[in-house]
Subunit: 255 residues, 3 copies
Amino acid sequence: MSEVILGHNVTIGSNVTFGHYVVIKDNVTIGNNTHIGDFCIIGEISNPFAQEIEHTVVGKNCLLRSNTIIYAGARIGDYVHTGNRAIIREQSEVGNNVMIGLQSELQGDCSVGEYSRIQSNVSVGKYTKIGSYVFIYPNCVFTNDNTPPSGASDGSSIGDFSQICTGVIILPSTIIGRFCLVSAGSRVAGLYMDDVWIDGSPASNKGKLSKMPFFNKSGKRHYPWPLQYDAGMPWQGLNFLEWAKERKIELPDIF
Amino acid sequence: MSEVILGHNVTIGSNVTFGHYVVIKDNVTIGNNTHIGDFCIIGEISNPFAQEIEHTVVGKNCLLRSNTIIYAGARIGDYVHTGNRAIIREQSEVGNNVMIGLQSELQGDCSVGEYSRIQSNVSVGKYTKIGSYVFIYPNCVFTNDNTPPSGASDGSSIGDFSQICTGVIILPSTIIGRFCLVSAGSRVAGLYMDDVWIDGSPASNKGKLSKMPFFNKSGKRHYPWPLQYDAGMPWQGLNFLEWAKERKIELPDIF
Amino acid sequence: MSEVILGHNVTIGSNVTFGHYVVIKDNVTIGNNTHIGDFCIIGEISNPFAQEIEHTVVGKNCLLRSNTIIYAGARIGDYVHTGNRAIIREQSEVGNNVMIGLQSELQGDCSVGEYSRIQSNVSVGKYTKIGSYVFIYPNCVFTNDNTPPSGASDGSSIGDFSQICTGVIILPSTIIGRFCLVSAGSRVAGLYMDDVWIDGSPASNKGKLSKMPFFNKSGKRHYPWPLQYDAGMPWQGLNFLEWAKERKIELPDIF
């Protein structure tokens, strides 16, 4: 641990382990059993001459892979995993059991629920809200200014259980419901209810996702996907409907 | 500063500050009051066995955020800010007050004017010329070879005050005038005059941008944008038209 | 070399050189004359608490530019060059003379033949197979799950001598033949034979590439390109057809 550089007012839980050349800046709290990989920076500040530095919290049992940067003021839950070079900026909140992939960025003032997975090279603009159990595939971008440049910060929101496929551009103020799927390469604006298949550039509502002929390798209709897939999800090994009922999650009538 | 590794023939101005684990290679000049963040490399060389290493210049009052890499032979103006992991390659010139965002790359022999802002994950191919007061949003790519692979380097050029929205692909030898806007996700080739709205994949001229019904939150027609937005621009707090007149900037007749 | 951190069971050839702050983890072999740049990590492990760490091999005469990460279990051939921050993950195999560009990622269980060049910010999903003499331009993504999320890993394959232009999305299980070209910004699925021009989103077969009016600066039909371009290729300075004959490469009847 001789190579870890520690700032002032740093609180480190028990069994925390560090890689090489780690930089922990001021006012950082790290929970028990978390691992901070090589070359990570925790508590990064946008302005190195700032007088006041906000408190940064990394939860317990997290795994921050090498070169991850967490900005001052971000709050990371428990059991969060990051890919190499993930970046989480000021005021963003990341729920428990989330994965943020390689070189992906959550800009400031974003929120991510629980068990969501953001894959590689995703750029999440300021004020975006991402629900729980959401998967975002590589190279998606979430924008936030309808008349650039204007200083507006019209973040979008993605409902629980939705899937945003590779290379999607989400335009400002887009609202996507739960259990939706946006196809790869789409450019999306507007408002979508639950269970919608969204496709195209510009994208449109292609109908109810659960009625579409999307069959998985077992030959079953794949959507709504939580009935078909549970790896790493909190209903793993359980019946999804019972799990949802117990959690008092109100499901749409596609179940 | 004990962790800063300094090469030969390095000139560092007054009040320059360094983060941790910074590597400054040979033949580098850094201006007064500049900050070089953690893990930055200044004067990076493409071939580690090169005999002659070109002179690298970083201006004064710059802020190079952590993990920025500046290649040998690049010349960076004053008051330039980089996002984490920005990369500026050999022979590229960056004007004063420019921002180069997270993980964006200026390949070799590029130029950027003044006060332009390149956001995250932008890939700017060799020989691209970007004017002043230009904004380039995340994940844009500037290409330079019409018949790949051919070794051609047909860079594009973007006129002053133009806006290149998220995820745009600029094909080789594209010329875009001043005060244009290219919509998100477009794939652009060809020649465009001033004040054009460019949209689509493949993109086309959709008409005069200043005539389009793009209204900002104040309910005003937003383009030409310098009448509506001035944050961080040199006309901030001034009348744009007077500022332009004083600077002898010849404006198109949309003003 | 005092800053190189060396794990257990590391074998380093003769004339290997290191940049600053390099981390070599356990069970790594590095061939003669290879250079490992600043901040590289060789033998990176996904789970820092893993008991068994696979053997990582980097060949001879390689140039790994700064911040490259090679995961444990990857096997890199000779004369391989990486751009800054390239990432090669577990079980992936990279042939001789390949270039992997800036911030590009080969996810696990991928293979790349010989003399192929992957440019910047390319995301290559698990189980993708890339042939030899293939060029992949910036920001392409190779996906691998047709009904996300399903845990499927249906990698695609790209035939020898094919060109995948900027910003292409390759959907799962796509098979592209030899001597093809996919235009910038296309979204591709399905099966394509040799010598096909593929374009559009969704993409389709636009006809025989060698019959298309794609002329290079010398005014010659550019495809099949190996007759027009040889820089860095093994037939450089030779007659391509004779080189191919000697290598017993069976060419399609477009030659």
